[in-house]
Structures are given as structure tokens and as C-alpha cells.
């Protein structure tokens, strides 16, 4: 149980008046003995229960024995006829939540109450029973619950419906049987019953699109009384619209009339919900947007803070995709900058930053300056992010915006806030060349008085990369060397590296840098001394090296080219031996989706703290697993493992998915099988693979799974040989074969004799994307330029009629299986053109960069220009072949120009 945040201080003045003054668990437990009195004093008992509740709320915990004692004592109170006390008893039982073996004591009393003539006994007993019940008891009381759902007393009906919502998580098959009753409850005259019934019915049917669509269509015609239920209905409606617009070709949006009508509803919450739903339409038109924006604008000046917040939050989202639609609200929005509720003010500011034009920037910045001093860091970060986007939008305004950033950098602030500012300045320097010198100078000033080691080292690293390329690199040296004199060892070491970078790039500064580096040889920290020694020697301070060769620079300052997480994992698993650590053996793949990709998502509550240490990357787990199987040990280094591909429908008898493991000359299919039938045990499970549609593949070995008990997943493998280093593709059909044995549910023992059986699985494809690792680059522009145009191949393709630009972009990304860079996989709504940047490593460890330019015209014809740069001519051509030959788009593709 929870601990109180601050324990009450006995000296506090008002404490002496508290009815709970000096309360002690031991004494209260002693007092609870009154529950056992033959003549129950209802008032006294209620008081004791209140004390127990207070203790629980104060974070006091009861031991198992204490909890059991209290629970048993409380059950005695069912003898009392006092209704007030009975209400307390219900609450207390819910609070103690007795263990499964104790529940039995109270079930008969509760079942009696559930059939009581007094409605309120029924409602409360239902709630308590559903809180403490398990599956077996539920089947006993199901009949009563179904009756309760249609009870004429709304409290009883709501109690049963809300219980249903909770029970659906644990016993879905039982609750799904209540559909008829729930449907009847939706027609109830009581507003809240309708609300609860709608929520439950939607949850029961949420995986059945057609049923949801029918439900929504019928309810939007009728009258839903409760505004809360109306809001739910609006949400479900927009879901139906989203799903249906994916299929319909007519261009008409179903049910939008209903949403528009909701804009005129009398309840504010319904209006906001409808406006929100409309603004979230994919490809929303300005005709659809206007009425929604108008009502939201009215709410901006509402006297209710919640409405102002809801309106500004929605408009803020709209401003990201349709800034022009929101400009009408700018005047109302400006008055919200001084809103007492800082969340509202921050949202208003960030919206204005998105919708403002170039001429209003200066005025806005002035207003924001006054505002910044009195908001919390987390709001400031949002503002900083918005200013960064604004600066990228209006590069001519960089002077005043950078000034603003440098001013706030000097003020007090926590690490996250300062980091956001530094990150913004770095991005602006990178993208706006004119801002570079001022920006670098601001960063220099910042590290003169920076309390965060991490930020100092980041800035020093950045200075080392950018400083030497400026017109006067020497002016940065003073700031950097100051760090060597004044800072802690980590920062000193970073400063030494930065100095060395200047020395290696700017020939004229070299002698002076050597002087400074030589001083570092006497540093008190060994890392600083080691770095200085390394740099002095590799840069040739004794005159041994004239021109610094490219290899040295690459070694000293080149990127590692492997994700640090992977490097860390490899280093941890490296065992000291004669064999040196091999950097090229570190997996380069960016951590992909978790193993259980398609399993139903568990509803995890949001986490406030920094997320806990992530699980080991699946790639590592696969590598370990495969290397433990002797049959695969000769296949060499694992290049890539795909995400699991489901080969069975959800909720079938046997769930099977497959992971494709790619080696240079082999491919291994790992079939993950789960047996979902408790009465069965499977043995000798194998997958028979027919590779007749995959000519280049030849099966070499298959590894069966000995036993597959209920609900405990196991794996079987099939390995194929393929042409070495080539991206061979093909289609494989799969048949699951096994011996099935009946299991006695009582004893859990399987029968001796089994029967052979088989189960058809879906086909599996190996595609070109399987040979591509998703590896990101930090700065695409730099990477693109340094790759050079030697092996560049450019072609144009027509992709035919597509649903939207976003859909076309996603399709091409998936075909190539590459990593989108710099967030370019996201296409703004209604965009007519888009550029997407991708990077990856193709089999054979060849780096590939792709620049995709898309355009869409009126009848939704999409054209694409594909520019590929790689380290190998043949691979650049191969990437084009992948796109040109892909079945998913080939029927639409025709090459227009080939100018490779």
C-alpha cells in the first residue's frame, strides 16, 4: 500500500483538533474487536471502520494475519440490520480485498444481498462480488448479473454494467454472452446507464468493425441522452469514419453530418468532442474545418478554464497540419498568453508560434520573454521546441530567435530545459548556415559557466566538428582550453579531444595546439593524459608525421557506425581472450520491435519516471539462441532477424509466427508455436516447408520441437541454403505437423497414445527488404554528401492512383525496409509533395542512402523520384530493381525516365 508523501508532524497546530489525533494501528485493531460483540453497536462499528479506512489511506499496511483478522471480523457485521453500517462494510471489504481462499466466507452473505428486495443491497453486493470474484464464482452469479443489467433501478443496472467492463478483462467469454441485455440497457431512459452500457457494448464488439459500424449508425439516428455517452459515440463514430474512408472510393465521408450536428449540441463537452473529431479527419477539407474552428474559437474566451484548455489544445494540434485555418483565432489566442492557468498559456504560445507569420515574430518574442520567467521548466521546453520550428520556418528571423535562445540559456534552469535549448541551437546551426558563427559563440559562452557535465561535453564535441570549418577557428581555442584548466576530468578529456580536432583540421593552428596538448600531459587524470598522448603522437608533434593521413583522422574522429546500445551489449558479452574484440562483428541494426509484435497490446499505464532499463534487444536474444544450436553454427555471422510474421489468425487453436534469420549464404526460419488448447499436448512438432516457389533456396536441415504443452511457447526451425551474399527472394508454403495427445484436465497427465495431425499455416515470403538493415545516420545531408555521386542512380516512377501521399510513402519505405531519417516518414496532411530520406545497410555490409521525392496530383496519381547512393554500383541498381519489381506496386509502376 502507498506511503504518505509526508508523515504528519505531531507539532502541527491544527493536528490537535484532528479526530484521528494519535491514531495507532495496534489500538484500532484492538478496537475492531467490537465487531465480534453479540450486541452490535452500529455507530461504534462505523467509527472503527472509518479509522481503518483512514489508516489505509495514510499508507499503513496490514500484515497478512492482521488483514485476515479484520476481514473475518468485518464479515460478522453482516448480522447487523443497520443500513449505514452495511454500506461501510461493503466499502471495507473492497478496500481489504481478501485473498482467494478467504473470499468464500463472505460470498454467501453477498449472494443473499444480491437477491435482496432492497435495490441498494443488490447494487452494492454486485460491486463487491465483482471486485473479489474469480471465474468459477462468476458462472454461478452470471444469471443474476444479466438480470441486474436490465434492472429498472439505474443504480443496480450501472453497477452490473461497470462490473461487466472490469470483468471483460479477465473473463471475456462470459461477459460476451451478455450482449442482448447490454443492448437493451443502451435504450434505458437513465443517462448514466446508457453511458455505461455503450462503453461496455463497444468494448465487447471492438474487434468486429462491422458490428461497431452498425452500432454507431443506429445510435447516431436515435437519441442518446447523456452528454458523456454522446462523447463516447462521437469517438466511436470517428473511428468508423477512419476505417471506412480507407475503403471507400467515392470521396464522401459517412456520418459527418452527425458530427456537424453535434457542433450545435447544448452540452459543451459534446461540442468540443465533435469539433475535435472533425479536425482529426484524415485529409480534412477547409469546408469541414471552418465550423469546427469557429466553435473552438468561441470557447477560447470561455469563463471555464477546462473549456479554454480543451479548445486551445485542439487548435494547437490543428496548427501543426493546417496553420492557416487557425490564424483567425490568433487575437483570442494572444489574450490567453496571460491566462492564469499556465498550461493554457503555454499551449496558446506554442500555437501562435506555429500560426504566426514572419512579421509578427518580433512582437511575439517580446510577449514570450515576459512569460518565460514564471512558468515551469516542462512548459519552457515546449516553448523552446516551438521556437526552434519557427526559426527553421523563417530562417531570416534567426537573429532575434537565436538571441532569445541565448538569453534564456543564461537564466536559471534544470538539465532538461538547458538540454532542449542546446539541442535547438545545434539544430539551427546545422540547418541555417548564417546562424553558425553566432550560434557557436553562444555555445562557447554557455560552457564558460555550465554546471552540467553532459552538456559541456556535448557542446565541446560539436565545437570540434564545426569550429574548425569557420572563418576564424582560433577564436574558439581560448574557450576550449579554459575547460582544461577549470573543469572536472570528464569535461577536460572532452576538451582535449576538441583541441586535437582543431589541430588535425587547421594546419596553421597545429603548433599552438601542440603546446596546449603538451600541458595536458601533466593532468591529474589518466584519461586526460592518455588522450593528450594519443593525439600528440598520432598528429605528429615531434615532426614524425608531415601530412595527417586520412586513416588517422578516420580513426581519431570518425563515427563508430554502430548503435552504442549494440556496442555496449557486445562489449559486455566479450570475454577476454587471445582474440581481440572485433568492432565489425557488432550488430548494426537499430533495435527493432519487440518479439511479441502482434500480440494484443497490454494496457500499460503511463509511466512517469524515466523508463526502466529496456529488455535485452531481441537481436541479441536471437543470436544467443541460434548460436546454441549446433546445426546452424557453420552459417557464420547473423546479418539480420526480421520481426515476427504471424502465420495464423488471432485466437486459433495453434498460434504460429515466424522469424526470418538471414545469414550470408543461409536463411533460418524460426517458427514460434503456441498451443492454446488446455486439453492437448503436442509432440514432434515440425513445419513442412514447400519451397517450390523459391527456386534459389534448398532446404538443408529441420529441427523439430519435441513437445508443446498448453500455453508454453516453443520453437521449431527450418534452414535453407541460398546463393552467397545475394538478396534471393521467394514464397514458401508451410504445414504444421505434429502428434496430438489428449490431456486429462483433472490430473494434467497426457494419454500414452497420440494421433498424427496437421494444420495449414499461411504462406511466408522472403523479400528484398529482408536483406536490408535499418541503420540510421545522424545527419543525412552530411552522409549523403560524403557518400558522393559516384554510384548514384536516379529514376522516376509513376505509382498510379494511391489513397494518399502518406500511404504511398509508407508503402515504399516498407518495400525497401530502410530506416527513415529525420522524421521524414511523417507526411503532413494534405501535402502535395514530400521528400523522404532513408538509410540502411544492405547484405554484404554496403551502406545505402535513399532520397525519395513524391508528388501527388488531383486524381491522386502519385509520381516518385528515387535517388540512391551507395558504396557499390551494383547495389544502387539493385535498389531500383527492388522498387521496379515489387508486386505490391508493380501493377502501377512504369518507369518514365531512366537517366541513371
Amino acid at each position: 500500500m502507498a506511503q504518505p508523501l509526508v508523515k504528519k508532524d505531531d507539532d502541527q497546530e491544527d493536528e490537535e483538533y484532528s479526530p484521528f489525533l494519535g491514531i495507532e494501528k495496534g489500538a484500532v485493531l484492538q478496537e475492531a474487536r467490537v465487531f465480534n460483540d453479540p450486541q452490535l453497536d452500529a455507530r461504534r462499528c462505523s467509527q472503527v471502520i472509518t479509522k481503518l479506512l483512514y489508516l489505509l489511506n495514510q499508507g499503513e499496511t496490514f500484515t497478512k494475519v492482521e488483514a485476515t483478522e479484520v476481514f473475518f471480523a468485518v464479515t460478522k457485521l453482516f448480522q447487523s440490520k443497520d443500513t449505514g453500517l452495511r454500506r461501510m462494510v461493503y466499502l471495507m471489504i473492497k478496500e481489504i480485498s481478501p485473498s482467494a481462499d478467504e473470499v468464500i466466507i463472505v460470498t454467501s452473505s453477498l449472494m443473499k444481498d444480491m437477491n435482496s428486495k432492497t435495490d441498494m443491497y443488490r447494487a452494492n453486493a454486485i460491486r463487491v462480488l465483482c471486485r473479489i470474484t474469480d471465474g468459477t464464482l462468476l458462472t454461478q452469479i452470471e444469471r443474476y448479473l444479466k438480470q441486474a443489467i436490465v434492472d429498472k433501478n439505474p443504480v443496480v443496472a450501472s453497477a452490473a454494467l461497470v462490473s461487466g467492463i472490469h470483468l471483460l478483462q479477465t473473463n471475456p467469454e462470459i461477459v460476451k454472452r451478455w450482449t442482448n441485455e447490454v443492448q437493451e440497457a443502451i435504450q434505458s431512459r437513465a443517462a448514466l446507464v446508457q453511458f455505461h452500457a455503450l462503453a461496455l457494448l463497444h468494448q465487447i464488439r471492438q474487434s468486429d468493425r462491422l458490428a461497431v459500424s452498425k452500432l454507431v449508425t443506429s445510435l447516431t439516428k436515435g437519441s442518446v441522452r447523456s452528454p458523456l455517452a454522446q462523447c463516447l459515440l462521437i469517438r466511436y463514430t470517428s473511428q468508423v469514419i477512419r476505417d471506412s474512408s480507407m475503403n471507400s472510393q467515392t470521396g464522401e465521408r459517412p456520418l459527418s453530418d452527425y458530427l456537424e450536428a453535434c457542433l450545435r449540441h447544448k452540452a459543451d463537452m459534446v461540442i468540443v468532442e465533435a469539433a475535435r473529431a472533425i479536425t482529426e479527419f484524415s485529409g480534412v477539407t477547409s469546408r469541414e474545418l471552418t465550423p469546427a474552428i469557429t466553435v473552438l474559437q468561441l470557447f477560447l474566451s470561455s469563463s471555464k478554464p477546462v473549456l479554454r484548455f480543451a479548445a486551445v489544445r485542439t487548435l494547437n494540434k490543428v496548427a501543426m497540419t493546417h496553420p492557416l485555418a487557425v490564424t483567425n483565432c490568433n487575437i483570442d489566442m494572444e489574450s490567453l498568453i496571460s491566462d492564469q492557468n499556465r498550461s493554457i498559456a503555454t499551449l496558446a504560445i506554442t500555437t501562435l508560434l506555429k500560426t504566426g507569420n514572419e512579421s509578427s515574430v518580433d512582437r511575439l518574442m517580446k510577449q514570450i520573454s515576459n512569460f518565460m520567467s514564471d512558468i515551469a521548466d516542462e512548459f519552457k521546453i515546449v516553448v523552446v521546441d516551438a521556437i526552434r520550428s519557427l526559426c527553421l520556418k523563417f530562417p531570416l528571423k534567426h537573429r532575434s530567435l537565436m538571441n532569445f535562445l541565448s538569453n534564456i540559456l543564461r537564466e536559471e534552469g534544470g538539465f532538461e530545459y538547458k538540454k532542449a535549448i542546446i539541442d535547438s541551437i545545434v539544430i539551427l546551426i546545422r540547418d541555417i548556415p548564417e546562424a553558425k558563427e553566432t550560434g557557436l559563440f553562444q555555445l562557447c559562452e554557455f560552457i564558460e559557466d555550465c554546471e552540467f557535465t553532459y552538456l559541456s561535453t556535448q557542446v565541446l564535441h560539436f565545437l570540434g566538428n564545426e569550429g574548425p570549418k569557420t572563418s576564424d577557428p582560433s577564436k574558439y581555442i581560448r574557450y576550449i582550453y579554459n575547460r582544461v584548466i577549470l573543469e572536472n576530468a570528464t569535461v577536460r578529456a572532452a576538451a582535449v579531444s576538441t583541441l586535437a580536432k582543431f589541430g588535425s583540421i587547421v594546419e596553421s593552428l597545429k603548433p599552438r595546439i601542440f603546446v596546449l596538448l603538451r600541458r595536458c600531459l601533466f593532468d591529474s587524470d589518466d584519461e586526460v593524459r592518455d588522450r593528450a598522448t594519443l593525439y600528440l603522437n598520432t598528429l605528429g608533434w615531434d615532426g614524425s608525421v608531415g601530412e595527417i593521413d586520412k586513416g588517422v583522422k578516420e580513426f581519431l574522429f570518425g563515427a563508430l557506425d554502430v548503435p552504442l546500445v549494440n556496442l555496449e551489449a557486445s562489449l559486455r558479452s566479450y570475454e577476454p581472450s587471445e582474440e581481440p574484440f572485433d568492432l565489425s562483428a557488432v550488430p548494426k541494426e537499430v533495435k527493432s520491435q519487440p518479439l511479441t509484435e502482434k500480440k494484443a497490446p497490454s494496457k500499460k499505464p503511463p509511466s512517469f519516471g524515466v523508463s526502466a532499463n529496456g529488455p535485452t534487444s531481441p537481436i541479441d536474444a536471437y543470436e544467443k539462441l541460434l548460436s546454441s544450436i549446433p546445426e546452424f553454427s557453420s552459417f557464420g555471422q547473423l546479418f539480420k532477424s526480421s520481426a515476427p510474421v504471424e502465420l495464423t489468425e488471432a485466437e486459433t487453436e495453434y498460434a504460429v509466427n515466424v522469424v526470418k534469420h538471414i545469414f550470408s549464404g543461409h536463411i533460418v526460419f524460426q517458427y514460434n508455436c503456441t498451443n492454446t488448447i488446455p486439453e492437448q499436448l503436442l509432440e514432434n512438432v515440425v513445419v513442412i516447408v514447400d519451397a517450390s516457389d523459391a527456386e534459389e533456396f534448398a532446404e538443408v536441415t529441420s529441427k523439430p520441437l519435441k513437445t508443446l504443452p498448453y500455453d508454453s511457447p516453443g520453437q521449431t526451425f527450418v534452414a535453407f541454403k541460398k546463393p552467397d551474399g545475394l538478396p534471393s527472394t521467394g514464397r514458401f508454403s508451410n504445414l504444421l505437423k505434429f502428434i496430438v495427445k489428449e490431456v486429462d484436465p483433472a490430473t494434467g497427465e497426457a494419454e500414452e497414445e497420440g494421433v498424427e495431425d496437421e494444420y495449414q499455416l499461411e504462406d511466408l515470403e522472403v523479400v528484398a527488404a529482408d536483406y536490408m538493415l535499418r541503420v540510421s545516420v545522424l545527419n543525412f545531408k552530411n552522409a549523403w554528401e560524403s557518400m558522393g555521386p559516384d554510384y548514384e542512380r536516379i529514376d522516376e516512377y509513376g505509382l498510379g492512383v494511391r489513397e494518399s501521399l502518406a500511404e504511398a510513402v509508407t508503402a515504399v519505405i516498407n518495400i525497401l525496409g530502410m530506416q527513415p531519417c529525420e522524421g521524414t516518414d511523417v507526411v503532413p496532411n494534405n501535402a502535395r509533395s514530400h521528400t523522404c530520406l532513408l538509410s540502411g545497410v544492405f547484405i554484404g555490409n554496403v551502406k545505402v542512402l535513399v532520397r525519395l521525392s513524391f508528388g501527388i496530383d488531383g486524381p491522386k496519381q502519385v509520381a516518385m523520384k528515387l535517388a540512391v547512393r551507395s558504396e557499390d554500383e551494383a547495389i544502387s541498381d539493385a535498389i531500383h530493381e527492388i522498387v521496379a519489381n515489387d508486386e505490391a506496386i508493380s501493377d502501377a509502376i512504369h518507369e518514365i525516365v531512366a537517366n541513371g
Binding site: 508523501l5 491544527d14 489511506n57 466499502l91 461497470v162 462503453a199 458523456l228 489544445r313 515551469a376
Partner: protein
């Protein structure tokens, strides 16, 4: 889902708390976060004036009732507008139980009734009842007046 309802005094001591779907180890973060939010914004706030905040995909509506700070936290269906309904139900029945906006002392005097009212309003993360008159009857085990 209604993730949390918290009552605290002005010093940040928790008086009543109800969490749903929040793991025990995250509750301390929530308490400190909410109490800090209240300390920064509720000082000098008018009685029952609503404050709103959002943190990631979670919404928070909070207010001051007499000497008591009340926070409700929700996500998904329970956005700021739904939470406003919830907190309105909570403040009105708390006032009803205490007879006026409560001091801490008065609040503790009526502790049992307030716990019962809360039990009628929020149950396992769902809003169950909203009208104070009905809640007043329900905690005395009387059926709603309109039945």
C-alpha cells in the same frame, strides 16, 4: 480510465487517495508530481476554480475546495472535459457532506461519509455517479429519488 483521485491538505499530506491501473511503484511519482503541481499553482486560487494540465497522454484537473486540494487524473476517454465532470461531482458531494467548503478538521470529521461518496462516484477507474443528490441518498442506501 480514471487513473487517480487524490485529496491532500495544503501542506501536501495525502488525506484520501484512490489509484486505478497505476502500479504501486509509480504511485510515489504521481503523488509528488501532483502535490508539486498544486503547490505551484493553487496558492491563492479561488475556491473551486479548476486548473488543467496534461502530461504526455494523461490529463489532470485539480482544484482547491476550502483547505483541501483535490486532483483527478485520467487518460483516453477521461480527458479534461470528462475529468471536469468527475471533479464537479466530487467537490459538490464533499461540500454536501461537510455543509460548506471544508477546513481540514471538518474534512476529517466527515471522513467516512466522504470516503463513501467517493466510492459512489468513482469505482475502479470508472465514473459511476455524478449527481450529488443521488449520491447523498446512495451512501445512506436509499434508492435514487426518481425510482
Amino acid at each position: 480510465m480514471l487513473l487517480a483521485v487524490l485529496f491532500a491538505n495544503t501542506d501536501g499530506n495525502i488525506l484520501i487517495e484512490r489509484f486505478h491501473g497505476v502500479p504501486a511503484e509509480e504511485r510515489l511519482h504521481w503523488r509528488s508530481f501532483l502535490v508539486k503541481l498544486g503547490a505551484e499553482n493553487l496558492k491563492g486560487a479561488k475556491n473551486e476554480e479548476l486548473f488543467v494540465a496534461s502530461h504526455k497522454s494523461v490529463y489532470i484537473v485539480y482544484t482547491m475546495l476550502g483547505d483541501i486540494c483535490i486532483y483527478v487524473v485520467g487518460k483516453d476517454d477521461y480527458d479534461e472535459l470528462a475529468l471536469a465532470e468527475v471533479i464537479f461531482a466530487i467537490t459538490s458531494s464533499t461540500k454536501d457532506a461537510c455543509g460548506k467548503p471544508p477546513t481540514e478538521r471538518l474534512f476529517l470529521d466527515k471522513y467516512g461519509r466522504i470516503c463513501l461518496s467517493l466510492d459512489e462516484i468513482v469505482w475502479q477507474g470508472m465514473l459511476e455517479n455524478t449527481e450529488k443528490e443521488r449520491i447523498k441518498r446512495l451512501i445512506r442506501m436509499k434508492p435514487p429519488a426518481d425510482v
